[in-house]
Symmetry: C2
Subunit: 288 residues, 2 copies
């Protein structure tokens, strides 16, 4: 049996075919242009394979509430051409297999769940934007929508009070002060060129640690996992653990921080594809 | 059939007996002294009635993970005599009925769930301390422990930067700057004596609104409900809605705020008792 994965990103789509063990057999990627062109490319790719089900992890915001009239739609995204697109309707009109629709970060979180064999986790991706997903007892968190934890407010670092933040909605929410582009906005230098001894890294880690604390206090997961470009730098996870420990100040028990706060365990950004395969299989079992 | 409720508060215990419709038939309350004395008073009360099951909503922190070795214990509470008390063991040693053990704020949240007939909500209590509980699809949120949302960090109000906050663990976490006692610490005047046109109310509402936003972005509930002494003042809910709207700035859709952000719907602090009755019944059905 073959399973399909669509990582529908705002910049590119990655479509993959895998086997029942969730091993990738084939993969293709192409830029995200218009819905008509890009979704058709995905459809044409999967028409070559006899996939039993497809998992779709999409950029957003999306409507993933099955009872909703606009289930399967991309809703109010700033990405040109994609607002109010019936993504799932388009895909299903030409691919007659069960499909599971969720956010890209939910797909990555589910991939970690499968890889690590745990049932409660929170996954943060910290890159151009900040997204998060939470799973409890194997189920995605989210009552009437999906999580948007990247836009929570944080206590400002005393040395960073003059920086207004770059979120167009909130200024200095978490994404406004701790995403990759906030580094350049603050220093005038791209993140990859900032010296390791710059205090800006600790400022950023201070904010990310607060998001980790908020997730800990709200959800009590057994692990917090970090992906995305910012956290791919080895020194960042250490800095986040240091600030997490100092800020939480022993108020609640957590597992040892080396285990509790981790970078993604799956190489080559493979979490979302793995998650999509597993969600495709879940949908197939649910439907049959 | 009769059901029992124990509201185990840090100041007093309220024990109640109710019928299958969750109507209170009888109630008693007494101060919280030592575990031996206070838990025995609760036991002696229930020995007078033929209750089929009891719901226990307790101050904390508690261990409510059923698989844990210390399930049913109060853990590291600052309340003298109560740390590491086996609350459920003591109760069960003399009352041979099914019992459901949870936090006091979880019990209140469950009471609102029953009263309002909804499946996804967050309940905040804002008084001497700040506690919160979340329910999704009828289940309490909490992977390896219960929620402690009162201790998340918040963006400080520009006019309140000099105030250090009163949380012994975190200084200016939410509880440190928005609980009832923070009002007196900031102004030197007890909350009930502060004029309604004091800017301190808006400062406090600004922080509470951030907690509501964080819960919205993390959990996407269909309603946020507020209890506790601070929110019992009619003007506060209006202030919180105003700041919520301004801070969230339309980033995610919510129901209309008059409906979405509400004070408790149950008179006379009755949410916890209702929740305990309903959880007692749930436990009974689970056991039989």
């Amino acid at each position: 049996m073959l399973l399909g994965s669509i990582e529908a990103g705002g910049t590119k789509f990655v479509c993959s075919v895998g086997d029942e063990k969730f091993e990738v057999q084939n993969s293709i990627n192409f830029p995200t242009t218009t819905p008509g062109e890009t979704l058709q490319q995905a459809i044409d790719y999967f028409k070559q394979y006899d996939v039993a089900a497809i998992g779709v992890g999409s950029f957003g915001p999306i409507d993933m509430i099955r009872e909703s009239k606009t289930y399967g739609y991309m809703t109010t995204t700033p990405k040109p051409h994609w607002s109010n697109t019936d993504v799932m309707g388009f895909l299903k009109s030409q691919l007659a297999v069960p499909m599971y629709f969720t956010t890209d970060v939910n797909a990555s979180a589910y991939g970690e769940l499968i890889a690590q064999g745990i049932q409660n986790l929170v996954y943060f991706t910290i890159g151009t934007g900040i997204g998060a997903a939470a799973i409890q007892q194997g189920q995605f968190i989210g009552g009437i929508s999906h999580a948007e934890m990247g836009h929570q407010f944080v206590k400002r670092h005393p040395k960073d009070l003059a920086f207004k933040g770059i979120c167009p909605f909130h200024g200095d929410c978490l994404e406004g002060v701790a995403s990759g582009p906030s580094l350049k906005a603050r220093t005038g230098i791209s993140g990859e060129d900032i010296a390791l001894d710059s205090e800006v890294w600790d400022i950023q880690a201070y904010y990310i640690a607060q998001a980790a604390i908020s997730a800990t206090l709200t959800l009590a997961p057994s692990k917090l996992i970090f992906g995305g470009g910012v956290m791919a730098q080895e020194h960042m996870m250490t800095r986040v653990r240091t600030h997490f420990k100092a800020l939480l100040n022993g108020y609640v028990m957590t597992p040892p921080l080396e285990d509790y706060l981790q970078v993604t365990s799956i190489a080559n950004n493979g979490a979302a594809t793995l998650g999509n395969f597993a969600l495709a299989l879940k949908e197939l079992r649910h439907k049959t």
